[in-house]
C-alpha cells in the first residue's frame, strides 16, 4: 500500500504550524492511522516539540562525522559500529546524506522515533541546508536526465515510500520551513497534497499569493522536464502534480462579543474572510482540490482555529499532546495550572479529531 504524502506549508513562520502538525498527527493516530512525520525544516521545531533535548543531542552527535563527509567516515567505521548506528533513529539529513554526497545509499533504513504506536518521527537536523544547496546545484541536470540530479530531486519521496513499505504508514507528513526555496519546491511538488495553516493576518494573505505563483512556476518547470525525460526517469516523479487540500485558520484570538460566525476579534475576522477569496484568485484550480469543496471554511471548520493560549508550551514541555496532559505526571508547579483547566485540555482532543477527520476526507479525494 502506498502512503498519501501531505506537506504542511506556510510562507510565514510563527503561525503555530508545529503545534498543528504535531497534534494533527496524534489525532490521526487516535483514529488508527499510522503516521510518519518527517521534520524537513532546518529549524527543527517539530523535533524540538516532540523530543527531549538530550534525545535530540544523542541522535545528532553520533552522526556528526557522517554529516561532514559520509563516504570517508563510512570507510573509517567498522561494519559492526555502522550497523549499530543504523539500528538507532537517525536524522533525516543522515538519511539524505548519501544522495547529497553522491555515494551509495544506505543498505538498511534507520528506525524512526516512535512517539507512540501509531505516530513516528524522523527527526530534523540544522545541517539540512547542505542538502538544499545540492538540490539547487543539480536542478539544471534534471532537464538533461542526469541520474544523480533526478535522485537528488526525488530522494525525499522515495524515502517516504521506503519507510511506508516497511512500517505500513497510511500517511507521511512533511513539515517544512516557511520559505519558497529549492528544498520546499521539492517538498511541495513531491507530495500528493498540501495544506496551509494561516494566522488571520496580512502575512497569510500575501503568503497565499506567493504560494500560488510559486506553484504555477514549478508546474511549468516540471511540465518542461517531463517533456524531456524518458518514461523510466519520469516514473521517479509523482504521476500527478500536488494539490492544495485546504487551509485552516490557526492561532486566532477568540472574541465572541461581535456576533461574527467565527468568534474572532475584528481585525482577525477581516483577514480570515479574505483567505478563501485569495486562494481562489491566486492558486490555479488545477493545483487544488475543487474550490467549491475546500473553500467553504477551515479544515475541521471552527474546531482548531482559536489560540490555545499556554497549552502548546505545556504540550512541548512534556512532549505529549495537550489532551493527555491532565493524566500524566507533571512537575509540581504545573499541576494546579493543568488540573484547573483539565476539561479544556481534554476537549482539545475532540477538536483535533474533527480536524483530522476532515483532513482525511480531503486526502481521500487526491
Amino acid at each position: 500500500m502506498k502512503p498519501d504524502i501531505v506537506t504542511i506549508f506556510n510562507n510565514k513562520g510563527g503561525v503555530g504550524k508545529t503545534t498543528l502538525t504535531y497534534h494533527l498527527a496524534h489525532a490521526l493516530g487516535d483514529l488508527d492511522k499510522k503516521v510518519l512525520l518527517i521534520d524537513l525544516d532546518p529549524q527543527c521545531n517539530l523535533t524540538i516539540f516532540s523530543l527531549p533535548m538530550e534525545t535530540i543531542h544523542d541522535i545528532w552527535v553520533a552522526e556528526d562525522d557522517f554529516i561532514e563527509d559520509f563516504a570517508a567516515t563510512r570507510s573509517k567505521t567498522s561494519n559492526s559500529d555502522f550497523q549499530s548506528l543504523l539500528r538507532k533513529p537517525r536524522s533525516i539529513h543522515f538519511d539524505l546524506k548519501p544522495t547529497e554526497d553522491g555515494t551509495a545509499e544506505l543498505e538498511s533504513l534507520p528506525p524512526p522515533v516512535m512517539l507512540n504506536n501509531n505516530v513516528h518521527l524522523i527527526p530534523g537536523r540544522l545541517t539540512l541546508h547542505l542538502f538544499e544547496a545540492k538540490i539547487g546545484e543539480r536542478w539544471s541536470g534534471i532537464y538533461q536526465g542526469d541520474p544523480l540530479a533526478i535522485r537528488t530531486a526525488t530522494r525525499v519521496r522515495q524515502l517516504a515510500y521506503d519507510y511506508a513499505a516497511y512500517h505500513g504508514y497510511h500517511l507521511v507528513i512533511f513539515d517544512t520551513s516557511p520559505s519558497l526555496g529549492a528544498l520546499n519546491r521539492h517538498l511541495l511538488t513531491l507530495a500528493d497534497g498540501f495544506l496551509i495553516p494561516c494566522s488571520p493576518d496580512l502575512f497569510s494573505v500575501y503568503g497565499i499569493r506567493n504560494i500560488g505563483g510559486a506553484l504555477r512556476l514549478w508546474r511549468k518547470q516540471f511540465d518542461s522536464i517531463f517533456h524531456l525525460l524518458s518514461d523510466t526517469k519520469r516514473s521517479q516523479f509523482p504521476e500527478k502534480f500536488v494539490k492544495l487540500i485546504g487551509y485552516t485558520i490557526y492561532n486566532a484570538k477568540r472574541y465572541s462579543g461581535l456576533g461574527n460566525d467565527l468568534d474572532l476579534a475584528k481585525a482577525h475576522f477581516h483577514y480570515a474572510q479574505q483567505i478563501p477569496g485569495t486562494i481562489a484568485k491566486f492558486v490555479d484550480p488545477e493545483n487544488s482540490l475543487p474550490f467549491t469543496e475546500i473553500l467553504s471554511g477551515s479544515i475541521g471548520n471552527k474546531a482548531v482555529i482559536h489560540s490555545h493560549n499556554t497549552f502548546p508550551s505545556m504540550s512541548q514541555k512534556y512532549h505529549k499532546p495537550m489532551w493527555l496532559l491532565p493524566d500524566i505526571n507533571l512537575e509540581v508547579e504545573d499541576r494546579s495550572t493543568v488540573a484547573g483547566n483539565q476539561n479544556k485540555y481534554r476537549e482539545t482532543q475532540g477538536a483535533y479529531l474533527a480536524f483530522a477527520r476532515d483532513f482525511l476526507d480531503r486526502v481521500a479525494q487526491l
Binding site: Q144, G145, H227, L228, L229, S230, D231, T232
Partner: protein
C-alpha cells in the same frame, strides 16, 4: 523551445577529442526563408507539421581534429540513446561525403552513407528526447578541416548557389584540400603513435 545540449562528457578520457562545439537555435528569418523555399518545391510547412518537417530548429555542431576519433564521439552519442534512454534517433544517422575512402571508413558504423560530389564530409544525427516530443535537435559531427570548407561554402552558395564557374570550381578544389588535410592529420598521429 528547450535546447538539448551536448554533455561535456564528450571530452573523453582526459584527451580533448572534441576540439570545440557550438549550438544555435534557428532564427526567425532563416526559418521563414526555409519555409518559403520548401513551399516553392510544393512542400507546405504549417503549424501542424513544423516540428516534424523542420528538424534543425535546434542545432549542435561538434568539431574534432582527427577523423579517427569519430568513433569515440559516435559511441558517446549512441550511449545517450541505447543505454541512458535520454534520446531517440528521429531517423538513422547519416554520413555525407564526396570521398570514396571516407565512405569505406563510415561503413564501419551504423550510418546511412550518402556520397555527394558537391559535398563535404559530415555526420548528422537527429535526436528527440522522446518519440512523442516535438523537440528535435540536429547534431553535426565533423573535423575542423571540413568545418572550414562548410563555413566558406555557406558564404558562397547560401542561400542562393553561386553561378560563378570559377567560384564553383575553387570550392570543389577546397573540398579536396581539406579532405587531404584531414587525412594528413590522421597519418601524423599514426606515425607519432608508432
Amino acid at each position: 523551445m528547450k535546447y538539448i545540449g551536448v554533455h561535456p562528457d564528450l571530452i573523453v578520457n582526459g584527451h580533448q577529442i572534441v576540439h570545440s562545439f557550438k549550438s544555435r537555435l534557428k532564427d526567425r528569418e532563416h526559418l521563414r526563408a526555409k519555409i518559403l523555399r520548401k513551399a516553392e518545391l510544393g512542400r507546405e510547412i504549417n503549424a501542424q507539421n513544423l516540428f516534424t518537417k523542420v528538424t534543425d530548429l535546434a542545432g549542435v555542431r561538434i568539431l574534432h581534429l582527427f577523423q579517427e576519433n569519430f568513433a569515440e564521439i559516435d559511441a558517446i552519442i549512441r550511449r545517450k540513446v541505447t543505454e541512458d534512454g535520454d534520446w531517440i534517433f528521429d531517423e538513422r544517422p547519416k554520413a555525407y561525403t564526396w570521398d570514396p575512402e571516407a565512405v569505406t571508413f563510415f561503413q564501419r558504423f551504423d550510418l546511412d552513407v550518402s556520397e555527394k560530389t558537391t559535398s563535404y564530409t559530415s555526420v548528422h544525427y537527429l535526436v528527440r528526447p522522446r518519440t512523442d516530443s516535438p523537440l528535435c535537435c540536429e547534431i553535426q559531427v565533423r573535423t575542423l578541416f571540413e568545418e572550414i570548407w562548410g563555413e566558406v561554402d555557406h558564404q558562397i552558395n547560401y542561400p542562393v548557389p553561386t553561378d560563378n564557374v570559377a567560384l564553383y570550381e575553387q570550392i570543389k578544389v577546397l573540398s579536396k584540400i581539406v579532405g587531404a588535410g584531414s587525412r594528413l592529420l590522421d597519418s601524423l598521429k599514426r606515425v607519432q603513435n608508432g
